[in-house]
């Protein structure tokens, strides 16, 4: 049984305790962003693009057995780092858990401002889209 969404969130909160300073946080995010496996080129399409004023995000989802998997990319690396965290938390989880997930960890690790709608970096829309996919897959099942 894979770790639950909450367990994974806690894991990230614990991990970020090693980075109390913003600069360390950002360095860690940049590292995560750079190591995020890129979305397969065939999914980097206009259909999968989420446009923000600041940066662009591509998101693709698949369902294997009863679990959803995501792959994503962004042209901005800090955004990509946050995407890596989101994917770590939501990947290979059952759709019903994804739909319910509150994802409070972003706030707890001090990156709330990046999920503010006014930033317009595509992240808010990305989270919405991740949940939407989960809902859609769930509906298909029913």
């Amino acid at each position: 049984m894979a770790a639950s969404i909450q367990d994974r969130e806690q894991e990230i909160i614990d991990e970020f305790e090693f980075f109390p300073e913003w600069m360390e946080k950002y360095e860690h995010l940049i590292e995560l962003g750079k190591s995020l496996p890129l979305i397969d080129d065939r999914f980097k399409t206009d259909d999968n693009i989420i446009k923000g004023c600041q940066s662009r995000v591509w998101l693709h989802s698949e369902k294997n057995e009863n679990l959803i998997s995501y792959s994503a990319d962004s042209d901005a690396v800090i955004t990509k780092g946050i995407i890596a965290l989101m994917i770590r938390v939501l990947n290979n989880q059952p759709p019903e858990d994804i739909v319910k997930a509150e994802l409070g960890f972003i706030d707890q690790i001090g990156l709330k401002e990046h999920l503010s709608p006014t930033r317009s970096n595509g992240l808010v829309s990305m989270v919405k889209q991740m949940k939407f996919y989960a809902l859609a897959h769930q509906a298909k099942e029913a």
Partner: protein, 414 residues
């Protein structure tokens, strides 16, 4: 510090800074460095005091009252109009319409002008460097009336391709709408020449002065355009203030825009007659406090001297350009020979929003993104830029902080 030597501070610069209370605040544990002036400037105490005084002592509704305060508020509002007439050297206060801002002014003209003058097959000519607010209202008007939006090119250095603009003018051109100074590139356009050329084809002209107003020295009689629009909040004035200048004869010839109080002479259920200029275009209770604040901003700029403002800003632009170019892989977008204190830049191997997010943590405010000029960014093949725009309260020392911040960000990101 390396590269260019920091020039000595200009004494006028110090006295200018003193007027802006917000500049003393800290952001993320650092003293604020505010380089987002092209989006909106900060407000001097003189403007804040004028607004406060208006609400403390002078407020009532304007134009219709016989009582003391209504008269006083009307006087203050109409003196603000006279002040703004003087600010752009218009002939008469009948040509000065108070608006919510530049976008409001363009929408007013696009709607009322199109209703009267735009017909199927007519063309509106704009340029590739226009802000969305000088694109979308014309698109809407063209959609409505079967007109066509024509776009003049921008050259690689960010200057207007004047030859292209000239070649796209024809007898079909009903109106040419062009930005005075580009918000994304800093390019200053030869508006007087453009207006003269447009007139040869009988086209009307609108100049979007949003970025020009903060530098002062606007002379609508000299430019000879039919319309000139700008916002107050970019020229040290309050948000929700702005001016639409229109030549009296042109405004007279257009139908009203919004209907309501103030803009009418007589109303019956059968027929309404409309008020004279400028009231014809000011339906409803106007934003008196904003008008009073805007007039105070014009006073503030003139007291300080637009020459002094220009001198400080040019010094900042020159120093910032030299210093930013020290950064490996940094490219400035917009290097037109005639430009104001706006520097748009990108750095190889980094994304503008990442640089913006990192230097924000150092208390430095720049704008990142497409600056509401998506077509222009697409032309240059960019997702956006970082834009540092300077006002006369910025300093050489702050530019050093910016350069150090960008260097730090680049090191983290690459």
């Amino acid at each position: 510090m390396e590269g260019a030597t920091r020039p000595l501070d200009i004494p006028e610069n110090i006295s200018f800074i003193e007027a802006f209370p917000i500049l003393k605040r800290e952001v993320n544990g650092h003293k604020l460095v505010y380089f987002d002036n092209a989006a909106s400037s900060q407000k001097p105490r003189q403007v804040l005091d004028a607004i406060e005084e208006y609400y403390f002592k002078e407020h009532s509704n304007v134009h219709r009252g016989v009582h003391y305060l209504s008269q006083l508020a009307t006087d203050r509002y109409e003196s603000a109009r006279e002040r703004m007439r003087k600010f752009i050297n218009a002939k008469s206060t009948r040509e000065i319409i108070f608006t919510k801002g530049c976008t409001d002014g363009i929408n007013l003209v696009a709607a009322a002008f199109a209703k009267k003058h735009l017909h199927e097959g007519d063309e509106i000519l704009i340029t590739e460097m226009e802000h969305h607010s000088n694109i979308v209202p014309w698109q809407m008007a063209c959609d409505d009336k079967g007109g066509k939006l024509i776009v003049a090119n921008v050259l690689e250095d960010g200057s207007l391709d004047y030859k292209d603009l000239k070649s796209k003018l024809s007898d079909k051109t009903k109106l040419v709408s062009v930005v005075h100074i580009s918000n994304a590139l800093g390019t200053v356009n030869p508006v007087k020449k453009i207006v003269a050329q447009a007139k040869k084809f009988g086209a009307y002209t609108l100049v979007d002065g949003a970025q020009a107003a903060p530098h002062g020295g606007i002379d609508v009689k000299d430019i000879d355009c039919d319309f000139y629009v700008f916002s107050g909040h970019k020229m040290y004035g309050p948000t929700g203030s702005g001016i639409l200048y229109g030549k009296e004869s042109v405004l007279e010839g257009m139908p009203p825009y919004q209907g309501g109080g103030e803009m009418i002479k007589t109303v019956s259920f059968e027929k309404t007659t409309f008020n004279e200029l400028p009231f014809k275009y000011e339906a409803g209770t106007p934003n008196m406090a904003a008008a009073v604040g805007l007039a105070a901003a014009a006073d503030f700029m003139d007291d300080f001297g637009v020459g002094n403002i220009a001198q400080i800003e040019n010094g900042l632009l020159q120093y910032a350009t030299e210093r930013l170019l020290e950064i490996d892989g940094l490219k400035i977008i917009g290097t037109a020979p005639e430009k104001t204190s706006v520097i748009s830049f990108i750095v190889d191997g980094t994304h503008p929003s990442d640089i913006g997010a990192i230097i924000d943590k150092l208390g430095i405010a720049v704008r990142t993104g497409h600056h509401c000029t998506q077509p222009l960014m697409d032309k240059f093949g960019l997702p956006g830029t970082c834009r540092a725009s300077f006002a006369a309260y910025n300093t050489f020392e702050e530019i050093d902080s910016l350069v150090a911040g960008v260097k730090r960000a680049v090191k983290m990101l690459r």
